[in-house]
């Protein structure tokens, strides 16, 4: 009953302190939007130009031009099975094509030789001396050229084998983990931003705890029959609700901007809930060492930056493992729960891995949350709940 009263009171105060709430709730969607804009403007696009000089051949009074077929194959394949953003344009002559590659309007130029059809037809009749010729032109120092050329070459060989009724010598099978084949850069960054939206809880939660000290209402609560557990529990539940709303708002923003995820939404909410609790627990430490909302806003910045920029939340981060436990790497970033939360979200939302695979992350988050709560609780009790 008292916990419910604390929840209702805390909710009213939270809603009426709308600036802090708005700041906390809007940060996730705002970051999503910023990253979306960054990804959109820096999205890789590979453009291949094709010059078809093929004169074609006449077989049984039928005019055949394999150059045209190849160009069409490149275009159609691009629209069908290749995941990378690949555009094929036909240009009339080589000089125009080179000019456009030089001006960075395209990444590679494919020039189909005039005898291409003739050579293909000869190959069909097992004339191994005939060699269909295609010339690739581009800036060899440009990664975009290399990717374009590799893909164009692959497709070109596919067409040649098909046109000459030959079979592939080697069949390569590529297995993509989860949705990594289709996941965009934007998709990859979203799990981190979902956690950023929870990191912002650090302010609302710390202020919710510390406002009782700042208003001195803690004295009234100490005189009442409220227990420390009911007090901390009530505030934590409200902050958990704020956290879930925040992460759902962020997810909704991401989805509306084209985020694709696999896995279960329920697991995502479960991970978000656990992470929220851990942030709330950490907020208790901040509240314990501060006495006012202003102090929270100053002191809280330091852990917020650590949590945002050294856990992989704001951008991917790699670090050396100190050691491993059952194959799970432990490093300095592992002292911060967002590190594990992001790893868990990556596994479930992006790589579509089994729930079992995130058990180490769940254990780490729970352990650290308990650790934060114990440390925060001890300091908070000593500094603010002690009989003075």
């Amino acid at each position: 009953m008292k916990t419910i009263s604390i929840i209702i009171k805390s909710l009213k105060e939270q809603i009426r302190s709308y600036w802090v709430l708005l700041l906390s709730l809007s940060m996730g969607p705002f970051f999503i939007f910023i990253y979306f804009l960054i990804m959109e403007t820096s999205k890789p696009q590979y453009t291949i130009l094709v010059v078809n000089n093929d004169k074609g051949v006449s077989i049984n009074n039928r005019q055949i031009n394999h150059g045209n077929f190849l160009a069409a194959y490149l275009k159609n394949t691009k629209e069908g099975s290749i995941a990378i953003p690949f555009t094929v344009n036909i240009v009339t002559d080589k000089i125009t094509g080179i000019e456009r590659v030089k001006n960075k309007k395209a990444d590679a130029l494919v020039v189909i030789d005039g005898s291409f059809s003739q050579a293909i037809e000869k190959r069909k009749l097992n004339d191994s001396t005939a060699m269909p010729k295609v010339e690739f032109t581009g800036d060899l120092t440009n990664t975009n050229y290399l990717i374009s050329a590799v893909w164009a070459n692959e497709l070109l060989n596919e067409y040649a084998l098909y046109a000459t009724h030959n079979k592939k010598v080697v069949e390569v099978k590529e297995t993509a983990l989860g949705t990594s084949a289709t996941a965009s850069g934007f998709d990859m960054i979203v799990p981190g931003i979902l956690i950023v939206s929870l990191i912002m809880l650090m302010f609302t939660a710390s202020i919710a705890f510390v406002s009782e000290i700042e208003n001195k209402t803690m004295l009234r609560l100490k005189l009442s029959k409220l227990t420390a557990f009911e007090f901390l529990g009530g505030i934590s539940i409200v902050q958990l609700m704020v956290g879930i709303v925040s992460v759902l708002l962020t997810l909704f923003t991401a989805l509306s901007l084209g985020f694709h995820y696999t896995g279960s939404l329920a697991i995502m909410i479960f991970i978000a809930g656990l992470t929220s609790l851990s942030i709330i627990a950490f907020s208790l430490i901040i509240a314990a060492i501060t006495k006012s909302a202003n102090e929270v806003l100053v002191v809280g910045n330091f852990p917020m930056f650590l949590f945002m920029f050294f856990t992989g939340a704001a951008f991917p981060l790699k670090s050396e493992a100190w050691f491993t436990i059952a194959g799970y790497p432990i490093n300095i970033q592992g002292l911060m729960t967002p590190t594990h939360a992001i790893s868990a979200l990556d596994k479930t939302l992006i790589m579509n891995m089994e729930v079992f695979s995130i058990v180490p992350e769940i254990i780490s988050i729970i352990t650290l949350t308990l650790f934060y709560f114990i440390i925060g609780g001890i300091i908070f009790k000593h500094r603010h709940l002690k009989l003075t």
Binding site: S17, K216, T217, L219, L387
Partner: protein, 314 residues
Amino acid sequence: MKQTQMETMIKIEGLKKRFGDFTAVDGLCFEIFRNEIFGLLGPNGAGKTTTISIICGLLPPSEGKISFNDSHGKDHKSLIGYCPQENIFYPKLTCMEQLLFMGQMYGLPSKSVKTNAIDLLNLLGLEDKTNVRAANLSGGMKRRLNICLALIHNPEILILDEPEAGLDPQSRILVRDFIKTFGKEKTIILTTHNMDEADRLADRVAIIDHGKLLLSDTPQNLKRTVGEGDVLELILENSDENAQNQFAENIALRSMNIRINSESVLIKHPNIIEQLPAIKNLAETNGLTISEIKLRENTLEDVFIHLTGKSLRQ
């Protein structure tokens, strides 16, 4: 005060509180009766707030004990309502919201808390402010809300720390009337360094200084301790120390009590009116010019000065 039918509500025995080497409360012993208004009078730093904090359970005593007569079967927390000197409330909650919240914090059912809250808001003239956020109340209203919050759980003992401090005249009258009314049914402990406040409101007063109890009795009895008669207060235009000392010697020779303060001279005698012409003559003889003469009854301040040799305001 109905001393004959008094039933002890709080019994304080050998109460001591030490903070390191400093002893804030030094062996206090007194009783507070049911349905009386008990004033705890003393200068700043006398140990009033420490004593109150121990009674409220906010501080553990170093020595001694406090026992409560909880004939209503209430636990310690339900028994006491504390209204601190500083206004303490939730600025973003309305008057009704915070009264309901605090009532629920004492484990009371919502219905009875709401009834209590409405009664209290009416009693303290805040009925129009039921749905106004506390932050938007005037200073006097905040003080009254502070009292409402202390009473929402219907305690048997109400502790008021400097209840009239910083109040506007209208709020002061409201609070004073409330204390008098409430004191007929409940036990009230007032802590104050305002002698008039204690004199006007308290049935009994305990005067403490340096953590020690100096005297405890009704205001009338306490005032009798400094002798019968009224006090004449002379405000002097000049403050020549030699002249004042000479004047004091002459007054003392006429069997009158005299005390010289920086701004005034206090003279006490059972028939002070009859002595007034002689006093004026003596002042003129000693070269002192009287700018103002005040005649008043003994106050608790006189008692305090009599006991400690210094003013409460010092």
